[in-house]
Symmetry: C2
Subunit: 430 residues, 2 copies
């Protein structure tokens, strides 16, 4: 790479425009650290005249990002569009084939096409960096690839979605309902104003877990259908009951090697208020790795927003400017293996079960008999009557049982007239 | 660097010998990640025949480490002796001058001679890496140098000494005295069996703070005398009273840019039990950075022991094997600046003051008058009589005041006959 480095940014949404401004204002500092002078020579977005937070140079603007490649010699391209396929994939593909280094915060793209794109980058001897795709402000991917490189990591998990963590924290703190807090999150820019579904249903966290697994275990990105649950069904009531029990609801992403098999999941968990993970609040993200010989390592930082994301994008930039080509996933693609997936049915947890029932004799024994039939033993029962409405809430904390057992046991309650709703199930985190 | 890389290890104590074994057992994994074949061709320690945890190859053993340079072509040398000067400095110096890359976990050496040695490494175009010198299992130096490289960090602090954190945690948990818990720490290998002084008096944490400052703020390593206090004077009584107040004692290292001036300190702090830092327990270390635009980032991991230390030593090795020369402190030595030190006298905190007094009328008013004279306002007073011994304990939590003010105010109590001991002072963390 020569002293002058040509940069293109495709996508000028919240992240792209913040990055544009950061590159402008930090070019001198970057030169001090790397000896390279960066120049933004092309930017692209759908709408040239949209109102943006920072002024852009319209002379270098392209409405069609693919035209950038025709007219310029680009060294490094930032993909900030954010789709898992379509134009995002096309841009990255074209760049790599043209021997242009690519930096992207796009977790959906990497979780879906990461293996293919990494292979393409290696073939063309350029870098594909995606530090910002997981846990914005925490340089966790670099830490796994480099800082913890020689450890045998066997588990990686954490709070990977700032939006849902903000919502759960705020519900507990203010006693406001899910819907009300979601509106607030949208107002503050923590949740997508249009469609926050991908945050709420666990999809976003799952893409991150897939990337973390691949890096931690040196495996191909898994494609298997896994247990993925979001927070849409968490009620204020559950959060309040959990609080009384010294517990807190957190949406955890978990990836683990169990008996040589890969298990990945995202679902709400009840964690103790006295644990580390129970105290990661608001929009914060946290990633915990367990490995040998290093033991447990915890990384916490702001998980969302253009500032933290931009911090990671720039760390990728500096890594490339220092001039060495690195494998996108830490080791060569042909050394990354596929491992057998763990059978979800055998996943084992203590459970929190909440039943809304008619306040009639025999209902509790119906439930406990059913549990006993499936050898699910009860650790704790809390029954709260609602005399006025002739209803009651029964909360049961069970000892450990498997997914399949729990599913079979609970199935009957769908059609029982004394059970007013299908029971709410939240897993307890060991 | 050719495909074969020659390695020397000097110092075969707990860390050196564990590293020796790790290198032996992980050479294949290292080759997979870097394409380099490592060979340990020289080891050195005082005593060839000492009983060690792993068997060594005596054919490559040197009693005098300086002879290694005469007989071999070394590519990378690990310095694991651990002195701040003397033979440690001599070995590293000689290696760098001979264009040999150096990796060391030696914080005392780097805190004392880091600027000089970094300069020497840069001149000779080799690497000097010291990831393991701060917070063993947490790759915090690489994170600051690379992952957070383009952020403006203005504060870095944390729990940097596992031994003292273990002692404080254990005292609170078991209600045992400092002396008793210290013996246990020595038994478990958490504290030096001979002389644990450098851990207990804050010196070890201070060396780490100096290294963290230099990396975070791009400054030369500071030499200024600062407020450095260890945990030797923390009594079980203080820990118990703190617990009642919802507080916990932690030995914090803090480095901060205040009005463009550098402030570094190590001292025990009272922190809330509900905070993150208040829940870093046992031998765990934690480092927290605050910067722009990234915000607050937290890194926690095992702070001591050969496993975590070895993890960091190997991450340094991989970084060097990947083939690029890096500035030891992230930027070129001639770009690292010296900044004015902050005046310690102006350091401001709320204080916890514990007075052991004779149970006589007028003693409390003597104390409160004295505080009032120095405009130190009282937030809370807890007086506990010990009728049998005609004594009392008075604990006062004050509002914020400066160091110099507190010092002047308390000085009088040295010679007062009703105050049985000079009061214990513990600063509250914000």
């Amino acid at each position: 790479m020569t002293k002058f480095v040509n940069i293109a940014i495709v996508g000028l949404g919240q992240v792209g425009i913040y990055l544009y401004n950061e590159l402008k204002s930090k070019s001198k500092a970057i030169e001090n650290k790397t000896g390279k002078k960066i120049r933004i020579i092309a930017i692209s977005a759908k709408n040239k005249n949209k109102k943006r937070r920072f002024q852009i140079d319209k002379k270098i603007f392209y409405s069609n990002p693919l035209n950038i490649f025709k007219k310029n010699k680009i060294d490094i391209l930032f993909e900030c569009v954010g789709l898992s396929n379509g134009i995002s994939k096309k841009i990255v593909e074209t760049a790599l084939i043209n021997k242009i280094n690519v930096i992207t915060p796009n977790k959906a793209l990497i979780a879906k096409n990461g293996d293919y794109l990494a292979n393409l980058a290696e073939k063309n001897k350029v870098n594909l960096e995606f530090e910002a795709s997981v846990a914005g402000g925490i340089p966790i991917l670099r830490t796994i690839k480099e800082g913890l490189a020689t450890n045998k990591i066997y588990k990686v998990y954490g709070i990977l979605n700032g939006t849902t963590n903000y919502i759960l924290t705020e519900m507990e703190k203010t006693g406001e309902t899910f819907d009300k807090v979601l509106k607030k999150a949208q107002l503050f820019g923590y949740a997508e104003p249009g469609n926050p579904k991908l945050d709420l249903n666990g999809f976003d966290a799952f893409a991150k877990i897939r990337i973390l697994s691949a890096l931690s275990f040196n495996t191909k990105i898994s494609k298997k259908k896994c247990i993925m649950e979001g927070i849409e069904n968490i009620k204020l009531e559950d959060i309040k009951i959990a609080a009384q029990l010294g517990l807190r609801v957190k949406l955890l992403g978990i990836s683990e090697i169990i008996n040589g098999q890969l298990f990945e999941t995202v679902h709400p968990c009840l964690v103790s208020k006295n644990t580390y993970i129970g105290n990661v609040n608001g929009v914060m993200n946290a990633v915990i790795t367990e490995g040998k010989p290093v033991g447990e390592s915890v990384f916490q930082g702001e998980g969302a927003g253009p500032g933290p994301t931009s911090s990671s994008l720039l760390s990728d930039l500096l890594s490339i400017l220092r001039g060495n080509t690195k494998y996108p996933f830490g080791i060569s693609s042909n050394k990354r293996i596929s491992i057998k997936p763990f059978n979800n049915d055998k996943y084992t947890n203590s459970l929190y079960l909440r039943f809304d029932v008619k306040d009639k004799q025999g209902v509790l024994s119906l439930i406990t008999n059913r549990l006993a039939k499936y050898k699910i033993s009860v650790k704790r029962i809390i029954q709260t009557p609602d005399k006025k409405n002739k209803k009651a809430t029964i909360v049961i904390i069970t000892h450990k049982t498997t997914e399949i057992n729990a599913k079979n046991c609970l199935s009957i309650f769908k059609k029982n007239k004394n059970i007013l709703k299908f029971p709410t199930l939240i897993r307890l985190y060991n």
